[in-house]
Symmetry: C2
Subunit: 117 residues, 2 copies
């Protein structure tokens, strides 16, 4: 459990890299949802250019996946589309959602010498 907690914060390399931010409000019908999430995460982890994924919340969910570049993020989107069509298109599991694709330009944490990096 301790290990899982520590790994919640993805180990990403020096910027720049790409973040795909998925924010959603879940619906009341979550049948099959857990299996879909596991399938998506397993699939993401074996994609070229995958750096890591972070997820928090249940009813209010934020999942951020990290990719080496925009091209890797786009490829992942294509691979995931069939699953995402079920996940998102039918509006079954999510009341609403937003996907944002962003380039991370800087990051800092407890290991950063200065907070002003």
């Amino acid at each position: 459990m301790e290990h899982l907690e520590s790994s919640h914060v993805a180990s990403t390399p020096e910027p720049p890299y790409v973040a795909v931010i998925f924010t959603a409000v879940q619906s009341d019908d979550l049948e099959g949802y857990g299996a879909m999430v596991e399938q998506m995460e397993a699939l993401a982890a074996v994609q070229p250019g995958f750096l890591g994924v972070e997820s928090a919340g249940t009813r209010h969910e934020i999942t951020v996946s990290y990719w080496v570049d925009q091209e890797a993020a786009r490829r992942w989107k294509q691979v995931a589309e069939h699953l995402q069509a079920q996940r998102i298109g039918h509006g079954r599991w999510y009341r609403t959602y937003r996907v944002r694709v962003a380039t991370v330009e800087r990051d800092y944490g407890p290991d950063t010498a200065s907070f002003d990096t």
Copy 2:
């Protein structure tokens, strides 16, 4: 409650804009944490260039705040530094954390005509 749920997904304008992604694992000592979060969110909401904020999870937290540009995100960082020094610097509430500053280049959701935008 319904209103709060709907507003979980921030209403952001057309990209580009800036996302500050804060990912953390909370510690066991959360005394004063709720008050600090409320203070931070109230303070963020009145900053110039603030677009919105999304937060999910408790023990595993992801909070994403959105800003009109890098300059607004930087100004917020300066304003927040005294609070963040307590929040982060002392390592009291967080076992570990990472802050990533990113430029959102595209986004899509249920209102997007094509999933391939």
